[in-house]
Subunit: 221 residues, 2 copies
DNA sequence: CGAGTAATTGAGAAAATTCAAAGATGGTGG
DNA sequence: CCACCATCTTTGAATTTTCTCAATTACTCG
């Protein structure tokens, strides 16, 4: 199985089509865990279809969403350092993932320099997206956070040859609030405000980005 | 030079003594940049003595401190993904660093499996500390953030065989505020409050952790 | 020693949260 | 197929935390 999935880790382009044809790896139902914090780390995982979130639970039981992972993106690299997963990953809709056994990845990286380099890059990208989130959480207002999230999903849609001006928010408002360090009420209020201002058209989980230019201005980007 | 510094990347224990005896690599004065965002990525760096911060500048010119790096810790892994550094690193006091040319690290990792594995682990640890910061920024109050930072520095002191109950905050209050997503006034107020409450004894940059137990309670840890 | 920078403290303002209630949505079984 | 229940979302009002602006005090280093 790993061999089918390895290209996902290797190739960052043109993954989407492949995803839509081949549906291998473990299928996950909405709400199902791919892995839980503390479980022995054996594999990293490529999301092939659907949507998953990575979460950490604070000492007082609150959930922090550290990332949403779309098709073509990789989860599980948090586990390499300590042989145990440091976060948990849950499907937000029916999703398919590819398992990439880490020991095989290590072997392959040992033999194939380009593979090693590529995996170093993947980890570096995770570091960068985490640090971008750190900056977002620390420096931006609620409006800026929401606008940034919408634009980030739009950009990822583009990479997957999907619409840049329409996003389906399969995650709940609570998940969004937990990702952006807000309350769900604030998230809801700001969607309403953006809607009223004509920046977006909200219809439940479906959001059209009407005024991309001003949305970018709000996101300060 | 790299060969002297590589053990730093390999060994995470007992680095301090080595640091205090051998002072190799590029010396940095306070305020001096180790590298800047956008520069070509060539090397990762091990901090051998002193203290550095990694920063990102937002589109509107604000500085986000994404990490403080103490002796024995590694910076620069943000650059691997795009061949350019994504952040800048500045010395907060006179510091010495070791340069580890990345191409040599790659070669070595190719030959020595344990080296490859160790470097994967180092990157995973960076991911984990970033995600811990994400959670701190998102879920914790100003008091909890400050208490957590003090305890984090204390824990790193312990690893370096320094005092667990005394920390020297070589970074400015502004740096602390930029790291924790607060204003410097709030940081200052909370130091004063903790001081008044007998949790710590603040004397400028010198802080004694008087009541570790209650400090841990405040940090919710 | 003094000028410039860094830190503290106070008071008022703003952003987001909390608490509360109503409204919408979606999945399930009759 | 539709009604119902549980869950999710929206909206409002009051509160709280942190920020902003402002002034004072303490350091630091030429």
């Amino acid at each position: 199985m790993g061999s089918i999935c390895l290209p996902l880790a290797l190739e960052s382009h043109d993954i989407t089509q492949l995803d839509e044809i081949v549906q291998r790896g473990r299928p996950l139902q909405k709400g199902e865990y791919l892995y839980r914090k503390g479980e022995k780390f054996e594999s990293i995982w490529a999301v092939r279809s659907g949507l998953v979130k990575a979460i950490r639970v604070t000492s007082d039981g609150l959930e922090q969403v550290t990332g949403f992972y779309f098709p073509g993106e990789i989860v599980g690299m948090d586990g390499i350092g300590s042989e145990k997963y440091a976060a948990s990953v849950v499907a937000l809709e029916t999703s398919a993932v590819c398992e990439i056994p880490f020991h095989r990845l290590e072997e392959l990286s040992q033999r194939v320099p380009s593979m090693q380099r590529h995996f170093f890059k993947l980890m570096s990208q995770e570091i960068n997206s985490d640090q971008q989130l750190i900056t977002l959480l620390s420096k931006n207002t609620a409006e800026e956070k929401i606008a940034s999230l919408l634009l980030s999903i739009s950009a990822r849609n583009t990479r997957r040859n999907l619409s840049a001006v329409n996003v389906r928010l399969q995650m709940s408002r609570t998940d969004i609030s937990n990702f952006l360090g807000l309350t769900l009420e604030t998230v809801s209020r700001i969607f309403s405000r953006f809607n009223k201002q004509g920046l977006i058209a909200v219809d439940g989980k479906n959001v059209d980005l009407i005024d991309l230019e001003n949305l970018r201005a709000v996101a300060k980007f």
